[in-house]
């Protein structure tokens, strides 16, 4: 897997590699915006990217060039991703793309006049799933269908990846429906992140189609999906549950206030999941803020 530091081209790469190792370790995002300094975001702060003490500014041409280099000069092969506003890079790193939408026949077909890029570094942290599973078991959760709910940048995908690994190492047959190619980080048919010996990855499949295909052809014990959204996702997950397959998914949610999040409420009322784990960004990404069990009761959470 390509080290993430080498994703941006020269001269930005030089400026990034010259950063203090402490900053590099905590770096989460690099944001390029037209005609303003490139900003680095760590888990707790931000700073401009500087070269020899001077903030680096990227113009419109630079941003086009960076995007072109990031996609190996093959934007034509990434039109569907670009239409959805992101590009996934080898290693599961995601680039959010901000530009002007191009409409055709009443739908967005691509983006042009790109004014911003957000390179989000995919973290791979082993060993965070095991304590969570233990906590769930201690809290009386018997089933293995869990929903991870959190705001953006709270570590949902990182936790999900380690859960895949935990189940896979335990001999469970896991199928990852990796619509955005972020969970597995596969690249050109090669393995990306270590997901153990019992995980299959459906890369680039839409969630509903991937879930149904997984049930029909791959005989999974657990199906893992990221960022649940529409009613089709819910219907496919219900089908999986009715087929006796465990499902683990993630959802964008601000906090454990179901009334404020209709999607969370809908998922909860569908009784798809045996537990909901809420993550927060304080004191750091991946912090468990609340857990609900099947009865809707909170499991006591020890603050880090």
């Amino acid at each position: 897997m390509e080290p993430w530091l080498y994703l941006p081209p020269f001269p930005w790469r030089d400026a990034i590699t010259a950063l203090d190792p402490g900053v590099l370790e905590r770096l989460e995002e690099i944001r390029f915006r037209v005609d303003v300094p490139v900003i680095l975001y760590t888990d707790s702060s931000w700073m401009p990217l500087c070269q020899q003490g001077v903030p680096v500014i990227s113009g419109a041409g630079d941003i086009q060039r960076i995007l072109s280099i990031l996609v190996d000069h093959s934007l034509y092969a990434r039109m569907e991703e670009l239409r959805k506003g992101y590009i996934t890079l080898p290693g599961g790193h995601r680039v959010g793309v901000a530009g002007r939408a191009v409409w055709q026949d009443g739908r967005i077909v691509t983006q042009t006049e790109i004014t911003g890029l957000n390179i989000r570094y995919a973290h791979d942290i082993s060993g965070i799933a095991a304590p969570l599973v233990e906590r769930l078991r201690q809290g009386g959760v018997r089933g293995n269908s869990w929903l991870i709910a959190a705001p953006p940048r709270a570590g949902k995908t990182t936790l999900l990846r380690d859960l895949v690994r935990w189940f896979s190492h335990g001999g469970w047959r896991v199928v990852v429906v990796d619509e955005r190619c972020e969970i597995a980080g596969t690249n050109g048919g090669n393995r990306g992140f270590d997901l153990g010996n019992h995980a299959d990855v459906l890369q680039g499949w839409s969630k509903p189609e991937g879930i149904i295909t997984a049930i029909r052809t791959l005989g999974p014990d657990v199906i893992v999906v990221d960022e649940l959204g529409g009613d089709e996702d819910l219907a496919a997950l219900l089908q999986a549950r009715h087929a006796g397959v465990e499902v683990i998914g993630t959802l964008h949610a601000r906090d454990a206030t179901a009334e404020l999040n209709p999607r969370l409420e809908q998922l909860w009322e569908s009784q798809l999941f045996d537990a909901v784990v809420f993550l927060g960004r304080n004191p750091g990404p991946g912090s468990v803020t609340a857990i609900w069990n099947a009865n809707g009761l909170g499991i006591r959470v020890k603050r880090a």
Partner: protein, 166 residues
């Protein structure tokens, strides 16, 4: 011995003529190869949607005359230090047989290569293909005529020299 020397002079003159005419012939060969190469890239990009480096690599394997250029472009792109037009420009700079207009057409194509939807790429490549076909056709008329003229002149000069010496 005299006849042997005369034969040597004639052979040398023919060889020199061919050597001098080589750039003219090479331009025609290169332009023909680029036309074919673009025909190869159209399905690779617009239908198969192969990564550009991979498509160029496959083209390099298919058209040996373009191999040094295409491999240089692929290598330069792999450094992630320059855009594709710069890579083409650098790669073509070493090719003396091409005329400025040939380079301009190829670098123009490179500037747009990979940066838009498959349909647009297909159209752009087809347009470049037509331009290169025109250049190749002109080259066949003009350059090959010049190549043949140069070969004949130098060879005849060799024969004339032999007659004078004998």
């Amino acid at each position: 011995m005299r006849w042997l020397g005369a034969l040597f002079v004639v052979i040398a003159a023919v060889w020199l003529g061919r050597l001098m005419a080589r750039p003219f012939r090479r331009r025609v060969q290169l332009l023909d190869a680029w036309v074919k190469c673009i025909g190869f890239l159209v399905p690779a990009i617009s239908w198969r949607q192969a990564a550009l480096s991979q498509a160029l690599q496959e083209a390099a394997n298919t058209y040996p005359i373009l191999e040094p250029h295409l491999r240089t472009v692929v290598d330069l792109l792999a450094t992630r230090a320059m855009d594709i037009a710069q890579a083409f420009s650098q790669s073509l700079a070493a090719e003396s047989a091409l005329r400025p207009r040939d380079r301009e057409v190829l670098i123009d194509m490179a500037a747009k290569l990979g940066s838009s939807s498959p349909d647009y790429q297909k159209e752009m490549l087809r347009t470049t293909e037509l331009l290169l076909k025109e250049l190749a056709s002109d080259a066949r008329k003009e350059d090959l005529k010049q190549a043949r003229l140069l070969e004949s002149l130098i060879s005849l000069s060799g024969v004339a020299l032999v007659i004078l010496l004998l």
